[in-house]
Symmetry: C2
């Protein structure tokens, strides 16, 4: 039975997050990415498949490279036409960007070796007095003026393996709060815009949004960047900054070992 790996993009604005939320009748099911995608896949492959995802993104959070997987008994559509067949059944705020054949038992959560997120902020830098208009669904706004270089000084102190208990929502339900961050960088993209790029082996619940909130506090001068080691050491949620809203967050990519994919038969000969 073929197992399929999909790369999925969505604008999270009008979704109640990734995870299916279908309470028993008479309550109406909420609009979720998983629910909408699963329905489209079922229609495309004409089987009652179950779709699971790598990251259960929250309501309002976007994705460019979410990974989803399903198994079907008999894939009657050529693999290269599968994205188009699913997309034809999807609304305009979610897209399948790639379909690949995975090995039996491929698990998008367990097999994921890294994820990358971006958090976008528009701030009151250099005379800007208005929140974003055309990008308001994709960025978070603060009227404070931020110093992205100061934020970056804080960001690089988060690199490496740390206990991120201070940066996790309480009741996160995970056994260990130790995670490894191998990219953490703040860049100014205009005088009033900056973005945090962060990548790691795994993230705790709300971890990126709490890191972004702490770096914004640093950027406006409320916390010095040298305080990051103390905040980590505290292992206490109240030591870090606020949780920023979901609209600035985007799951940019998810990474898997090559071995999760079926190797295509090539026509190349070894000479």
């Amino acid at each position: 039975m073929p197992r399929l790996k999909l790369t999925v993009a969505y604008e999270g604005t009008l979704f109640h997050g990734w995870q299916r939320q279908e309470p028993p009748p008479p309550e109406v099911p909420l609009r979720t990415v998983q629910g909408v995608l699963e329905q489209a896949v079922r229609e495309a492959v004409r089987e009652p498949v179950t779709v699971i995802g790598a990251s259960r993104t929250d309501a309002g959070v976007h994705a460019r490279g979410q990974c989803a997987a399903f198994t079907c008994a008999d894939l009657r559509i050529p693999l290269d036409r599968l994205p188009r067949a699913i997309n034809a059944r999807l609304p305009d705020d979610v897209q399948v960007r790639k379909a690949e054949l995975a090995i039996d038992g491929f698990d998008p959560i367990r097999d994921c070796i890294a994820k990358g997120y971006r958090y976008r902020v528009v701030h009151g830098g250099r005379r800007r007095a208005l929140p974003p208009l055309f990008r308001r669904r994709l960025t978070t706004y603060t009227f404070h003026r931020l110093d992205p270089e100061l934020m970056n000084e804080g960001a690089r102190r988060l690199l490496g393996e740390h206990d991120f208990a201070s940066f996790a929502q309480i009741n996160h339900g995970r056994e260990t709060t130790v995670r490894t961050i191998f990219q953490c960088k703040v860049e100014a993209t205009s005088p009033s815009r900056c973005q945090l790029d962060i990548a790691g082996s795994g993230f705790l619940y709300n971890m990126v949004r709490i890191i972004a909130g702490t770096l914004v506090e640093i950027g406006r001068g409320k916390i010095p960047p040298e305080r990051i080691p103390d905040i980590l050491a505290a292992r206490d949620r109240t030591a870090a900054g606020p949780t920023l809203p979901p609209e600035g967050l985007c799951l940019m990519w998810t990474k898997y070992p090559e071995s999760v994919l079926m190797q295509p038969l090539t026509s190349r000969h070894t000479s």
Copy 2:
């Protein structure tokens, strides 16, 4: 009685265009930029003012530099705080970006000396197979692959004074269809994105969207750019390309002579 000139930006997606559409009860008024803005201005200045605009943009069309004007009997808010006072009463898809004191009788339609529009297109260039996701409300999509250089060759043939009858929706209701275009340029902004920047003294109804539609026909090789003079000479709507959808269009700026503004009293002395 002070006359105010406002610079207004909006995302047109959720508006039924600029112009107020309030049929008599029991029908409900449609959500229009003029209606929403006028209501916010009335609350801010506490007078039942009437707001008029330079351009009656269609449903779905965006603006960065629409001009609006109103007269009030007594402006009790300092001019520099007026945008904030109005914005506090506006929804998040419309913003007042500037407020200036205009002369008595300032008319945003009659006094306008130039307008600039941008039309954005995402196309099937270089292997792109999907419509835009995050920018879908701000661009038009065609799965055809376009050649922006060819489009630009067509665009520059529209420069100057011409009879644009071929590029006007029939029943446009204007006496003359002669207009002067002093900027008309197509630029590629990525391998699958391009934009038309067009500026002129005035535009006929749907003129920019029909010009964009004709340039897209040129870009996909259906019309050679050398045909533009013939299309102009035909003075017949059917000679030009299709009217493209509204979401790609944005009114970028509106220009007025300096003389429509009240000159602020300066403290500088002539020596």
